[in-house]
Symmetry: C2
């Protein structure tokens, strides 16, 4: 009989060939975590097979990389010979980490050269002190020295009041040895004179800081970037403090239309970002006013609120922004607490519902330089979708509504501590197991939890393809509730609030409409350019929500198309990645502008095929079940079709 | 016997030929005002001879224009035949009017054409409202309409946050018919994109307002200018509120170096200017934010304090400004309460003590386009002097000290109500008569009063050419006082303070040093370019103080050179005139910049001939009395030489 050695626990056991690893483990007293009850759906029982032969019945939720590293699902993998197995600590499997603790690992572009790529540059100059025989004014002396010592073209050096106000003192305190921070070029006036952003005593050319920012409706992220090396030195994130005034874009726009509402929302997002900047500066031992440039990505509403632009017309037909290409502003104008004269550059968007987060994200994904077609998706309140290749790009936004963000669902909540983020329903008992963020008692269900719940309800037969709950099942969990039929996910004894956590028919319908809107978006986009969804080379899933999205579940409910799993790529927060690329290089900044300008925007509400596509998608997974072969196979296995 | 008809009083009288007109008037009960006691020195008794022949014994204080209009001094003009005489109301002769009531009568340049001269322009545009099939953003729609309807080159139209923040509402409230205020060109970036200064609902192209400002150390003046016609529509002035923190430039600079001092002084001048702007706007039925451009002239210290630049180094050797050519700023940056995005353009100066008031003033005087040499003088705390013609310009500043502004003299005061502004001393009795601003009881003596007093003291023999008072005279007015010999101008019974108003030897010495510094300035400048003062074609006297300066008196004490009186021209406030010219036209603005750049600055403290010239000028009128032939003649008449 083969021997299985559990290296991590220093135990071994002899088992018959064909035994599943989880059983082998249990034989020597090792409990492998299996929230889904060993059905191969949750992926929590992943172990590493270091040596030996195994057979994997399922690799659900394992990435190709993980599999090549030896990961296998303990409940779905059988012993075929002597094995050495490591059971990794549960933390290694947990993908979700509290956002504020995550430090992005962003690769610096290989060829980064600040002297050519960067618009910011520091110059150390030594200036001749004035005398009665040479009483040239301070500023002219600076110009003269700069020209003599750096040969820069500075006859029309642009100097603004804040610099002039400190110039006399800085020159004298620095004994006529100072460092000038110049912005040699901005994308709005590439031929304009270089601008003096700051002047400091002594030689400070050994550091140069910038910040890249993503303003999400829910979360804001800031990267602190060393502009000399290009490295993301640190990163921080926080909930957008605007959340207290509305969870989603539409409620924020409505709040902004109240007296002082816009100013209040602007203040709240500034409070968030300034807090993050202060924290980063402190943690890295720099002053915030040493940060001399900031790029900002975000959806069009977030950019409007950040800049204090009136967002009303974004909400109302025909859905118009004030501008999709905001001009660069100074930090002091914007209210951002970095160097007051630092440029704050909000990246360009495409339209009201395809904002700078998408143009930056698509740019960072590199799909616009590839020959074959990619599908880029960012699912949140709105599902933004971009289809294209190196020659063309078309985008649309489907008003998915806030259901996937936990709003509009009775027990929905944001993905914070206490939210059920994954659910498993036993095929025979219909009992639920779940995982809660922070390992607390549950308070509600977040977006990824809802997708997981819907998939499990559908696959286990708790509900049918129309979303009707099966009241005939032998379980107290499916019952008639105040809002029609409902399924009890957690009993009151288990929950933090002391009440049951349920999902009812109204919730299911809301979610069904939302997922149908996204899928209809794919279909309309693909049809509008005459290609078939199945010919798409890769599906790029962007956004924080995308990071926690389970592809299997999403395909099972028909939110994502059923395609070979290796075509799905999770890109994480592409919005901040694009902002980082724009911060680093003129090329990057220009690239995003050009991309935003050439991206076509398809207004779905003006498209006459959208409604039909949406109606067809109002089923789990879809009217055309044949478009979802893997789901069909699973259902056939479970004999629920 | 000839008949004299006093038309204004409807009386007539027969008098023997050779009778002075003032005697003829007295014969029919008309008292002509003669503060100088009929000595032909004060010019207050001017009458208009409408018909008939007279002989003028003196035309002191009458301009050639006045003489050609028939003006004659009643006390110095004899009847030669039948006359018709009008005695004008005293107000017509009074040159001094309270500053706040004076409305500048500024001629609009004949060729003013706003479409070519002006950098500001309004465009009315009618914009296609957006629809689902044309969801171009607001700003891009504005650009498109502007281009289609006005053919303007606007691909890179510069738009700033405040305009973007209101754009959505203005477009919709205006039902897509709006007026854009564009600044099509600024002197710093003539090739840059036009900048949107404002956007307003409806068609507001029938008005376009600007303001020209002169920030004097003592007085601030604002012209409200209709930029469509070029006309100065209204004007207002006020004391610079900084006066409460120091009367002169040096004490202001010292105050600025205290903690919060600079901010306080900046706040005070802004308070002054904003108050004037508000008053002008209200009086003319416009809103302050309809004022879209402002040009500012003033000495370098005033410009530094206005912009919040550190002025310390202006005071300390080697006397350096932060910049002589401040960049244009927006009104909101500067703290000026006109349209927040209006350009506030501080005109360029030459150096620490030859500021924008002088470059603007010289430009407005047109001396730089003439073939023969002019001497431009602005006497205040500092006497700024410019010598030159169309080919060259050289300038200097002589630290006259604040004596001529009433400071550093025991009973000196500013030229406000209660200040003695003119004095006459009887040659035989040594009794003083004087004129007081506001016709009140006197409280002190202002600059023009001091010059008048010194001249009268010298000519009447109360003091000698060294400024020593003659204690041997038979009058109680010359006496030994606490600070040495003194002359009593007003007894305590006459004065408002109930104490005597006197001038003592210390005061006289201060004034002597001040006037010598100015005259030495002329001499050094003339010598430095190898010309003789007497060959100067015209002497241009600028500044508010110059307006009240009496040439005869100033020549008598040797403050001004003794030249034919028709070479003296009083230009009034040339600083505001230059600011107005820069406001009106690009040419004007450019002209002042070019002038400031080509004007040579001679640092007197670094010139080795200055001290000798100054020593020679420490006499009334000068060591070389032969350079003052008219004074010599007067002294010989009075037998005091």
């Amino acid at each position: 009989m083969p021997t299985v050695t559990f290296k991590s626990h220093d135990r071994e056991v002899e088992v018959p060939g064909g035994t599943v690893i989880s059983d082998a483990a249990r034989m020597v007293g090792i409990e492998v975590s299996m929230p889904c009850g060993g059905q191969g759906r949750c992926g929590r029982c992943a172990v590493v097979v270091e040596q030996g032969e195994v057979q994997r019945r399922s690799v659900a939720r394992l990435s190709p990389e993980a599999i090549s590293e030896g990961y296998a699902l303990a409940c779905q993998t059988t012993v075929q010979g002597d094995l050495v197995v490591t059971i990794p600590p549960q933390e290694k499997i947990e993908r979700r980490l509290p956002a504020s603790q995550r430090v992005a690992e962003v690769a610096v572009p290989l060829a980064y050269d600040p002297s050519t790529d960067q618009t910011l540059r520091k110059y150390f100059v030594q200036i001749e002190p004035p005398s009665l025989s040479d009483n040239t004014d301070d500023l002219a002396r600076v110009r003269r020295a700069l020209q003599a010592q750096h040969g820069a073209e500075v006859p029309r050096l642009k100097v603004e009041l804040p610099v002039l106000r400190k110039l006399a003192n800085v020159l004298r305190e620095g004994q006529w040895k100072v460092t000038l921070v110049l912005e040699t070029e901005t994308w709005v006036s590439p031929d304009g004179p270089p601008r003096v952003v700051d002047v400091k005593t002594g030689d400070t050319t050994s550091s140069l800081w910038g910040a890249a920012v993503d303003i999400g409706t829910t979360s804001n992220v800031v990267h602190l970037v060393d502009l000399l090396t290009g490295r993301v030195v640190d990163s921080a994130s926080d909930y957008n403090h605007q959340i207290a005034r509305g969870e989603d874009i539409i409620s924020r726009i409505i709040f902004a239309s109240k007296p002082q509402g816009l100013g209040e929302l602007q203040g709240l997002v500034l409070e968030t970002i300034n807090g993050l900047l202060r924290g980063l500066a402190e943690r890295n031992g720099i002053a915030t006013d040493e940060i001399y440039k900031m790029t900002v990505a975000g959806n069009s509403t977030m950019i409007h609120l950040f800049l204090g632009l009136v967002p009303d017309s974004i909400r109302l037909e025909p859905y118009i922004t004030t501008t999709n290409q905001p001009p660069p502003v100074t930090a002091s104008e914007a209210g951002v607490e970095i160097n007051p004269l630092a440029t704050v550059d909000c990246l360009p968007g495409v339209g009201s519902y395809v904002g700078a987060d998408i143009s930056a994200g698509v740019y960072s994904s590199d799909m616009c330089s590839l020959q074959d077609v990619s599908l880029f998706i960012d699912i949140g309140t709105n599902g933004e979708i971009v289809l294209g290749d190196c020659d063309w790009l078309i985008s649309c936004a489907c008003s998915a509504g806030p259901a996937f963000e936990g709003a509009g669902v009775q027990d929905g909540m944001r993905a914070t501590a206490g939210a059920i983020e994954e659910v498993w329903i036993d095929d025979s008992t219909f009992e639920a197991t779940y995982r809660v963020i922070g390992d607390e008692k549950p308070r509600g269900i977040c977006g990824s939890g809802l997708i997981s719940l819907l998939a499990e309800m559908f696959i286990s037969g708790v509900m049918d393809k129309r979303g009707n709950l099966n009241l005939g099942l032998d379980t107290p969990r499916v019952r008639e509730g105040d809002h029609g039929p409902e399924y009890v996910v957690a009993w009151s004894s288990e929950s933090a609030a002391g009440r049951e956590i349920t999902i009812n028919k109204v919730d299911v319908d809301n979610l069904l409409r939302a997922k149908a809107a996204v899928y209809a978006g794919f279909s309309v986009l693909a049809r509008s350019v005459g290609i078939d969804l199945s010919s798409v080379g890769r599906i790029l899933i962007a956004g924080a929500f995308g990071q926690y999205l389970d592809v299997e579940n999403a395909v099972q409910i028909g939110l994502l198309p059923d395609m070979p799993r290796d075509r799905f790529k999770f890109l994480g927060n592409t919005s901040i990645l694009g902002a980082y690329m724009a911060l680093l290089s003129k090329e990057g900044r220009k690239g995003i502008s050009e991309l935003a300008q050439r991206m076509t925007y398809l207004e779905l509400s003006a498209d006459n095929t959208f409604h039909d596509e949406w109606m067809s998608a109002l089923f789990f997974p879809h009217t055309n079940i044949n478009d979802f072969p893997s789901v069909l196979e699973l259902l056939e296995q479970n004999r629920h079709l």
